[in-house]
Symmetry: C2
Subunit: 350 residues, 2 copies
Amino acid sequence: MGNWQKNIRQVRPYVPGEQPSQPNIIKLNTNENPYPPAPGVIEVLKELDTDRFRMYPDPSSTMLINALAEYYQVSADQVFVGVGSDDVLAMAFLTFFNSGKPILFPDITYSFYDVWADLFRIPYECPKLTEDFRICAEDYKKPNGGIVIANPNAPTSMAEDICFIEEIVKANPDSIVIIDEAYVDFGAVSAVSLVEKYENLFVVQTFSKSRSMAGVRIGFAIANPVLIKAINNVKYSYNSYTINQISLALGAAAVREDAYFKQMVQKIIATRERTKEALEPLGFHCFDSRANFLFAAHNKIPAKELFERLRAENIYVRYFAKPRIDNYLRITIGTDAQMEVFLQKVKKMV
Amino acid sequence: MGNWQKNIRQVRPYVPGEQPSQPNIIKLNTNENPYPPAPGVIEVLKELDTDRFRMYPDPSSTMLINALAEYYQVSADQVFVGVGSDDVLAMAFLTFFNSGKPILFPDITYSFYDVWADLFRIPYECPKLTEDFRICAEDYKKPNGGIVIANPNAPTSMAEDICFIEEIVKANPDSIVIIDEAYVDFGAVSAVSLVEKYENLFVVQTFSKSRSMAGVRIGFAIANPVLIKAINNVKYSYNSYTINQISLALGAAAVREDAYFKQMVQKIIATRERTKEALEPLGFHCFDSRANFLFAAHNKIPAKELFERLRAENIYVRYFAKPRIDNYLRITIGTDAQMEVFLQKVKKMV
């Protein structure tokens, strides 16, 4: 082989949760929503003008951005959209973390942060969560090139309150602070309300969890217009047309269906709490989840064993063979019926 | 404002062609296909399992990759797919151009190459096309960190033959050579046939032009498995789920409709040649196009004036206020009826 191989960027690829294709699986491993998207989304899909597919989508994503701006009561120039929140976050890393100083995020958090930092050669430090997996605000009050906090955090499932988030944002006027709110709709308080007050705050959310549209790939951010313009400039320099026509239309439709959205979210929260209450007498410790999953450890059986035994029963949950969390399972909240089967199987095992 | 602004990546954003929303425009400015996608694409759209939208798409894009591998008679591990060829190309720049040495592409070519190089801080040099806008192979036989050639080139519309491409690939065993074939289906010869022979060759194509699916955002690359694995690693490090469920299904359907595809391409080629023949007696010089557009200059009236006068008549073509090409118009080939109106208006102007 020629020397061309030396020119290739070396990366450590992210490994997504398994997507088994068998139909009889109870899939509680990728934090997907167990309910279908809102009925209005399906109607819009049927009414799409397919002749227009020959044309490029609106590069400024106006339809979707306007729907989000109206829903979150911000102006359109405070909203950015991307191909899932992973796209929004990756582009935010590329846009906002160019100081040369290390960025900060917890040692236990969404496993893509260090992958993006490596990809874009951004130095980083990972302050440790406490023994009970809480974030220490003090760890984020030293010189840094930026901060990323998932709130609720993953895979711990716990949320910090809005005052805690404000404390970190306020303490870092010279850094851009990204709050990744992928799970916020399941019971946490969003930092969107702080965006008017703190111009260094960049809040990211997704349609993949609470809006049942992981397969359609939509994420968004809300921040002050200077940050939005900066990330849009990078986006236009990368790919002017990232979100396709179909996602733009379906996303806007989803935002309009607020009643359905709230109903499904409440349903998942209720199932989560019921599941938690059922797991605890079985010897599990579950953290106080504000997400669509539970993070749970059993007091006798190792997580890896439970993971494998559940898998043998066609129930997929997520297990991370990583320091500090290798005795926990991340269990996505499915339908009541799915969680019933899950609990029955678990009961037999413990 | 705090010092956070210093951390923002400074870029020169790409400016896409206008996307006017009025319905009465004859839009010959963004090289879109004037015909709708294949009927099978619309059928697949109607049959989509919308309940599955709640789940992540297949991260390995198997359905689409298999369809492309079968069509181009390569193996699945030789195919990469992305959100339009812009996504594929940007990711290829990020993956393959890490030598520190300047990459090479012509001074007149697709205007995104220097934007991506700037975005990812890749040094570059731009050898000049000849006076008659041809690429000099000799310019690409010096030390470099990679090469990008659009073939057919844009906006010149002209193609180089396969021996010319092979000469460049062969002369650069230590670099990765990207051949950007966005327009290849309109009469040029693809370098896909060279992929087995040259492991440093990376051929990129798109569904946006010949397959009438710019609005669905699908691009792909064919290369040896080592290059495909390397770009997949970067893709999985950036965003595991870039192509949504809908695009995967629609893209695979489009590839299956070969008869429709060939028929539409032939129709556009015929319209292009007729338009060219009609323009020449009016005082235009058109290059020998192998794309779905003409690159034309008038012998008396400046291109900018023609551009503005056509625009006033609701006919949008593309004009580039750039050195060497500021007296040319890039005219996308529309339907016969659209080109007839265009020619009538032009006749009155000259």
